[in-house]
Amino acid sequence: MAATLNLSGLTDSDPGLNDQSASSRSSNRSLRIAERDRRKNEAEDPFALALKYFSDVEAGTPVIGNDQFENNLVLVETVAYSKGLPPEGISIMLEFAMSLRMGNSPCVRVLKCLIPATVVPQEAVVRAVVWLCVGKIPISSQVLFIKWVLTVFDLIDAKDQLRAIYGFIFNFVTEENLCPFICHLLYLLTRKESVQIFRVRKLLELQSKLGRQPFLLYLLSLYRVFCPELVTLSIPSRMRSGFRNHNSPWKSALIAVQKKNGSQVSPTISLPFMTNSRKRHRHLEIPKLCSVVNKPAQTEPSFSRKVVPFMQLNSFTELLENLHRIELPAQMGSLLASSMALHYLDCVQDESALLRLNFWLGYTLHEEFLFNSDGGASQDLDEAQQFLNKLLFTQDFLQEGFSATEAFLYKFLRVWDGSLLRPQILSLLSNIPVVPSLKIGRLLFEPLMQLFFTSSVFFKCGLIECLNNMLSKWLSWHTVYALEDDLDISLNSHTSINMTLSEFKDSVMELVHFVGRLASVGLQLESYHSLLLSFILDFYETVCDTFVKYELPLIVMPPAGVFYPALFATEPVSVDRLAYIMYRYKVNLTSAKLDIKQKMKASHISRQTFYEFNHYKAIMVNCLWNSKMSEPDMGLQLKEELLCKSNIPEYWKSFDLINHPAFMSCAIDFHRKCWPRKRNVDLNSIKLSRPWTWYLQYLYSQGYNGLKQFVSSM
């Protein structure tokens, strides 16, 4: 019997070579010549000759004293350890070893040097398994062989035929010594169709004999993934370390060879379970992916669509292929755990599924941060932080906030101290969708106001930044939605929250006014802290562009409490940014006006806004340019006598571009550069028309582009 198999083995192990030559023959002439040269070289190559020896050697050839055999094997070993064996070499040597043509001792020696250079042909492995079934190989060699298969499993070029002989491989589980390794191999090969009730029974029977062995458990747990209706089990936490790595004999050699060859294929044996021994907070644990046990009863047998449980998908490609027939996991929360699942979550349309997710998320947040039933969140801040970061990542990924987060935040803001997990909470807060203007005060503003006025300047900055982000998200949402509506004939058919444009405008206006109030009082409280002012100006940079950038017919001017502190700020950056903001307001208002004229629509922008803008503009120009302080209707009124009392000469000039505290140093610098010989600095000399133009040019060259745009647009 061995002889016949042997013969067929010879013819079978060649196709690799034949295929190669066949394909090259069909290609062009020069290749053919190259191929001929190569084959000629091969014929003279001692390694090729050695391989030929092993494929041709007669069964029963003695080993002891056989120098030819010894020399050839040493040659093969040298090649194997230095470069690795080519696929056909693997086929020949594996066939030689497993057929026991020269007994067991060369078999072990050959198996140990089977280091693949690139890939392992599947046929070779299948044939070796066939030899395993013949049953002549000593058990230690069998174990060695399976260990080798496990090591090179990822390098086997295809697995379909191996899966086809799943049943044969399964038979070996009853071999006590082979069982752990066979289980691992089966674990790597198992597909849904391989899970059968008789196999489950066999494994359970083994379990009753061998006790709770990890390898049986892992295989069974995989069976459970595919067929939860056949088997139930729970894996104890201390056992969750996966199969032991059985690749030691080849590992280092394989890595060395692979490194030398610069090969991309890494022999990583996929470990079934992640080691996660750290104790987790009960509430913050994201549930494990599990398939549904109770399938909804199929009412119509004709409609028995084949579904694929999400857990069985291993790659993004598989996800794409099965996108239309994926079965949701038993616990929706588990989707948050993997990034692939997030891709899927983005396409989930099932409302119940999203509601399940929201229930879980809301429950988790409430229990952890509001009900604190297990002793308070403070103990495990790290985990809480990780959880919130994961949530933030998810929301950023989906570009939407969850409603459970929103509902949670409204409650949490009322008990928050403003410092616990501040970055996370503020980021979550900036994700909340548009709040109806009727509710916004009670839900958001009341608690935020309390927090704002009782916290440090850094919290104030953080909150303004958060509200700025919130506003820009609302505005972007509006642009997207408005664009969609242009395409859609039935207007308002899918507004996200059943909100009309005017309601949306009300909400935005409420928010902007709210920030205006916070900013005015906050600046006073913090004595015009420049960092806070900078965050506030950030906010108004968003506000001033609502019409042009976001196409929202709404323009809100900053309150005097923000305008004057920015105008009289001591840092030139703030004044410059204010100038830029005023310039953008002008652009927006002009285009709004144009829009009204073109479309013959009623004005959306109130006259009050235009008035306010002109008023601010006049003040700015007067202050910075015309050196005039008191205008009849300037927002702040100081009595002439009072100003005179201050004993500041020519006080009305104090805030022009030369004497403004923010620009004085620039003016002096300029003065030095302009008249380097002049010893006493007379800033008024800049006021003359020529130096004035130069001075302006000098300011622009210092990077004050806001001023430049403001001045050129006036």
Binding site: V231, S234, N294, V348, L355, G362, Y363, F371, S403
Partner: protein, 377 residues
């Protein structure tokens, strides 16, 4: 002012070992109280309309404890519910929990749930041994059953009773299995707006009571979590709820004697002071009927006038005032921990015993409201 100076008795106990536990006011209290002032969002309504699928601006309907409720009627529950079920429900003290709505729960599949849960328990109990589904008898037998009649409103889902029987490890073979754990899921007079807003796939049974070993409770809960994608959280009986129960039970005194009204406070001083305040039933009833009479209206119809939260507050305040007169100690300083009468007892920690079937529905209605309040959305 109140004429019931006679016959009350009061004990003040210094809790020796309660130093830490007593001083610490439960962290949840502030939040729970707050939640009552604040309206809740009920967001799934808009969820169904939303094109934005994760974010939904809530419909913002107010959800809070009812401020007035019908006085407990003599329920003919004995006609509706089988006596053996009532026995089970009344026999023990239950530990309460709230449950988010169950996804794909079917009252018709209780048989198969029984099987699955018993296998689950068996697998969990002997961690690391797989168990064949539909295999041999496990040591735990679980039975799910419907309690017919245990509903009030049309939207309420039928109450489900779960019992676990087991045999002690070293018991003789022929000994019958003994009940080791029981629990139920119910919804009595649940807020119809809330219930109707849920999609069809969900069954809302927000109130979960269990009695038996903690380990089994956790196993049952985690099986529910994995099978119906729901979550279980502790349900405390809030102070307001305890006040309600005290008043509602007292209100029944004329029909069925409450024997005593016992209230326990803990006062946060060092060492912690536990105040047990036992009121003679007749005195309590007199105080209550005084308060009830004050608006000057007579009973409207058979059902009796509904009880208002203000009456309840005044009742409790009356009791506290009386205590203050004698002991110069204001009981408002500490949280109310427990209320008990012959009709039942309730503890802040979320344990309740209902001793009279006649007032079961009223009590469960109140508790269902409390459970719905805890829902995350």
């Amino acid at each position: 002012m109140f004429k019931f100076v006679s016959g009350f008795y009061c004990s003040i106990v210094n809790m020796e070992r309660g130093h830490s536990s007593g001083v610490k006011t439960p962290p949840t209290r502030g939040v729970v109280q707050k939640s009552k002032n604040k309206t809740y969002q009920q967001s799934y309504r808009s969820c169904l309309r939303a094109s934005s699928r994760f974010a939904l601006t809530p419909a913002l309907t107010a959800r809070r404890l009812n401020t007035s409720r019908r006085a407990p009627r003599l329920h003919n529950i004995t006609e509706k519910v089988r006596p053996e079920h009532l026995d089970i429900l009344m026999k023990t003290e239950w530990k309460l929990a709230y449950v988010t709505p169950l996804y794909q729960f079917r009252h018709t599949q209780l048989q198969s749930y029984s099987r699955q849960l018993s296998e689950f328990i068996a697998a969990e109990k002997q961690q690391g041994l797989a168990v064949e589904v539909e295999g041999l008898q496990s040591s735990f037998r679980v039975s799910f059953s419907v309690v017919p009649g245990m509903t009030e409103a049309d939207d309420d889902a039928e109450t489900v009773l779960i019992q676990i029987h087991s045999k002690p490890m070293f018991a003789r073979q022929d000994k019958p299995q003994k009940p080791v754990w029981s629990g139920w899921l119910t919804c009595i007079n649940g807020n119809p707006d809330y219930l109707q807003s849920l999609p069809q796939d969900f069954i809302c049974l927000p109130l979960f009571g269990s009695s038996g070993s903690e380990v089994l409770t956790r196993l049952v809960q985690s099986w529910f979590q994995q099978t119906f994608d729901c979550c279980f959280g502790c349900l405390e009986i809030s102070e307001t709820c305890l006040h309600w129960l005290a008043a509602l039970w007292t209100n029944c005194h004329s029909e069925s004697s409450i024997q005593r009204l016992k209230l326990i406070w803990t006062i946060p001083v060092k060492p912690v002071l536990q105040v047990t305040y036992t009121v003679n039933p007749q005195d309590a009833w007199d105080l209550w009927s005084d308060i009830r009479k004050e608006p000057g209206e007579e009973n409207e119809g058979e059902d009796g006038r509904s009880v208002d939260i203000e009456e309840v507050t005044r009742f409790i305040q009356g009791l506290k005032n009386h205590f203050y007169k004698h002991f110069k100690l204001d009981l408002s300083a500490g949280p109310l921990q427990q209320v008990s009468t012959a009709l039942g007892s309730a503890k802040y920690s979320g344990r309740i015993k209902i001793s009279s079937s006649r007032y079961m529905i009223t009590t469960l209605t109140l508790l269902t409201e409390g459970a719905l309040l805890k829902m995350p959305i």
